[in-house]
Symmetry: C2
Subunit: 215 residues, 2 copies
């Protein structure tokens, strides 16, 4: 499990690693709320400090730039997403409606994390290039989990056989359909409940997976 505090980490002036972890979490939580509400650029570092209940000076002991804060926020969100998706897959690993169950759980994760997913779509571009890269890798890893599920079901004949590329693209389609609930919610939410949405999209995906005349 990668995490922004490991690996090529963000530098800090503070020695105690536990404290660093705690404060960064505290700052990131506050920042995430503000970024969702007003966007990254309209949120000031002072507002973040205030919302996290520390001084602006202290904040800059834990991060060196405002972009650092955005990156760690994105990373926390992806870690949370991945945890949710992995759990969903474990829960739904057996049984014949395995795919339907995974889809349901995944869509529920998207539903729960709606605001944050949307924020990532909007603000990834504000990150330094190196960290954009990382965010995209996180995105891809989540898609990879779904590729795994589809490949497994396809091999065990619980789904009709699909070639590798179709499987890959289907995984992307499912992931993006989850995101779609977040970025078209302004419309979909008025006409469909999350349950409607899951039911209809699951049916559509299953039709898509079971080779019809189009394939």
């Amino acid at each position: 499990m990668r995490n922004a505090t490991r690996g090529d980490a963000i530098p800090t002036q503070v020695k105690d690693p536990n404290l660093v972890e705690r404060r960064r979490r505290q700052i990131a939580d506050a920042a995430a709320r503000l970024f969702v509400e007003k966007g990254f650029h309209k949120t000031t570092t002072r507002q973040i400090a205030r919302a996290a209940d520390i001084s602006i000076g202290s904040l800059y002991e834990y991060f060196t730039t405002k972009e650092d804060i955005l990156y760690i926020v994105c990373d926390f969100i992806h870690t949370e997403m991945e945890r949710g998706v992995a759990t969903a897959m474990a829960d739904a690993s057996g049984g014949r409606d395995a795919l339907a169950k995974v889809i349901r759980e995944y869509f529920m994760v998207c539903h729960r994390m709606s605001d944050f997913i949307l924020m990532i779509y909007q603000e990834t571009q504000s990150l330094p290039r190196q960290w954009q890269q990382r965010v995209l890798e996180n995105e891809l890893r989540i898609t990879g989990l779904l590729v795994g599920v589809l490949a497994r079901l396809s091999q065990s004949n619980e789904l009709p056989h699909l070639d590798e590329r179709s499987i890959e693209l289907t995984a992307h389609n499912i992931v993006v359909m989850g995101h779609m609930w977040t970025f078209r919610r302004w419309f979909l939410g008025k006409h469909y409940s999350i349950e409607d949405y899951i039911a209809l999209q699951t049916a559509a995906i299953l039709r898509m997976c079971t080779g019809g005349p189009g394939n």
Copy 2:
């Protein structure tokens, strides 16, 4: 055809409407390029003025705020998109593979406008609430065109009968699959050509439309 220069338009100090139209186009073209390249917030009004080859003072004769410029850029992009989609639909109105043809044309429009579509995803939130609304209406109108196609084909039995909601949601799915080519291009572009993408996604959509066991 709605247009930002009609209706409840953006105020200007300049009397000559032709000049206003010309200058705004000139400013919007320059701004669109910069917004794609660096994002809205990292582009300054001075840079826009410079790129449009007028002074900063003149720029503010044609717009009252920086957000105005973003709005008009989004509006031009949507007008262009809608024109593309409408043309596609006219070209592909007859014949048996009507849906496949429309999908191809629509995806090609997305391919062509890739950078701009991505920019709209990222920057819509930077608009004042009233104009966000308008951008979403534009988005919905484009989706509506596809709903029309699907409904027509469904009624004339060129597609199996699908209920209204499935048609609506399928239209959204197709629209978003076009957008997906723009916002996952960092991955998809490495593994699929636009032709691969169209072929595979068209097959998937057709399977989705032809009621399989999932429905």
